[in-house]
Amino acid sequence: MFEPLIGGFATAFSLTNLMAAGAGVLLGTLAGVLPGLGIAGTVAVLLPLTYSLDPLTALILISGVFFGSQYGGSTTSILVNIPGEATSVVTAIDGHAMAQKGKAGKALGIAAIGSFVAGTMGIVALSFSAPTIARAALAFGPPEYFAVAVLGLVILASTFSKSPMRSLLMIIVGMMIGTIGLDPVLGASRFTMEFRVLDKGIDFVVMLMGVFGLAEIFAEIGRANERRESSSFAFRDLYPNRKELAQSAGPIVRGGVIGFLMGLIPGPSAIIATFASYAVEKRVSRTPDEFGKGALAGVAGPESANNSAMYAQMVPLISLGIPFSASMALLLSGFVIHGLTPGPLLMVTNPDIFWGLIASLYIGNVMLLIINLPLVGVFASVLRVRFSILLPLVTIVMFAGAYSINNSLFDLAVLLVFGIVGFFFRQAGLDLTALVLGAFLGPMIESSLTQALSMSNGSFAIFFTRPISGTILLVAIGLLVIALGLAARRWRTNEKPGI
């Protein structure tokens, strides 16, 4: 493993790639700092701009955005008590309490160090696990891919969802959207209403830009004039002393492990990992009463967990080619628009990309620490930019970006429609991640289902007689039954939310 990884470092250590990593981390931190922009929205805007870049450089830039945003989210949580990202909600509890006690610098410093250490743990685990899983996945056929994709969607609907049935509905609606255009197996046109422009289907990136980016802007525009008050801190306060580092070591390591393990689960697992880490720290702490009032472990644990989880989410994407979160679906789009297919064959056909990307994660993680910590004051000052200026500018960039994907005005109409859909679905409390992943995984599920049925001459038994797909599907069915049973019990006892 070490030889190809060293080769990856040689590829990643070009000036262009280093600049891409730095730019990605900076842009990601900015996206994380500004509440409302979101990682998905930022990457969606950025994707079309990477067309002219080399594939590896583009992927390094996009990956940098993901990891930068995790750190940026904590800055607003601590200083302003507004989580820039959902993964920073827990950090706001003790981080902002520390800021109110005049320890904002310490909280920011520990968040950065925790993110770095746990991030490194996550990358090391990713470096070992992704190639191993990819090698095993070389033996996968259509039934196994069908089973893995179904399991991912079932876990998404059953594990974290407030209402498994509504998440299933969102997955199905997403899959319906994914069937618009040419059928993936026979190449015949479906649901296009005679519009030739729909033959190639709904562009996934444009859909994401609408659902996550434009919908967010619609939601924020009514309060674009609100001002945000930020806590102040001195630069020297950013560096924790030896005692504080010792206090944080345990929470950081535990957060890293919890984050990685939970990050492997499909869905918004990075968010759940932060809550799990917070709960664990409170339980093992000798002073649990301090939690909520500015406990250092309450910042160190969750911040470490969210970074580590982000790397774990890359494991199924890189090794199997299947994204299990909206962010990873975007990263997959980054692969696709540059003519690459992530999955087990990537390691064989494009080892330079595979190992270069993994090596660049190490580099990006170091950059995150050395660039962002000194610049934290600058990022905090970005919060003073009024949303009444920022949101219209981002909207216009989004439209220009969406147009540039296919040079199509039709895509702008699609963007607008999905902006409206995303806005109303969110207001109704529906699961947008399920919608997006349904649309993305739908064509893959359809083609693997069709191919598997053709292989077995129409017998559905093929999914259960092959050991890997059979086991995976039984797990999926079991999980779904348990989730629906639990939800039905909640519904019967009139506990919200329902099924």
């Binding site: 802007i217 525009i221 949303f387 109303f424 109704a428």
Partner: protein
């Protein structure tokens, strides 16, 4: 809101199923192009119907209407963006962006005419340069 959204989803799923039924389903051994859509359509209608029924059983939502001053900005914003697409094909990206950006900035609450004009013109020119000249995108 929840009920209205659920109703729209049910209508969408019903329309989808009707269109899917017109496609050849094939057989399990040789699935046609309608095989998967029909399965999805049936599942969608059942789940959407259940979801709508469930939302009807839930306690009625309070009216969140807090006056036109709260609803107007997103509506005006949306209208401007809806006009942006045809405007782009009529007068080109740069001039349509200048006009729409002016409207968006005013809607978002920026009141300084100099700032609005400067940002609208300056930002549109910069975007035209970045996308058309640097990235080679053939903007309308």
């Amino acid at each position: 809101m929840k009920r209205a959204v659920n109703l729209v989803i049910l209508l969408f799923c019903t329309l989808y199923l009707m269109l899917a039924l017109a496609l050849p389903m094939g057989t399990p051994a040789r699935p046609g192009i309608g095989f998967m859509p029909i399965l999805l359509g049936v599942g969608g209608v059942v789940l959407a119907g259940w979801s709508l029924g469930n939302s009807m059983l839930e306690a009625p939502e309070g009216t969140h209407f807090s006056g036109w001053h709260a609803v107007a900005p997103p509506l005006v914003y949306l209208t401007l963006l809806a006009l942006y697409v045809p405007a782009m094909s009529l007068v080109g990206f740069m001039f349509s962006s200048m006009a729409v950006l002016t409207g968006l900035l005013l809607t978002a609450g920026l009141r300084n005419p100099l700032a609005v004009g400067g940002l609208a013109i300056g930002f549109s020119v910069v975007l035209q340069f970045v996308f058309a000249t640097l990235l080679g995108v053939p903007l309308p």
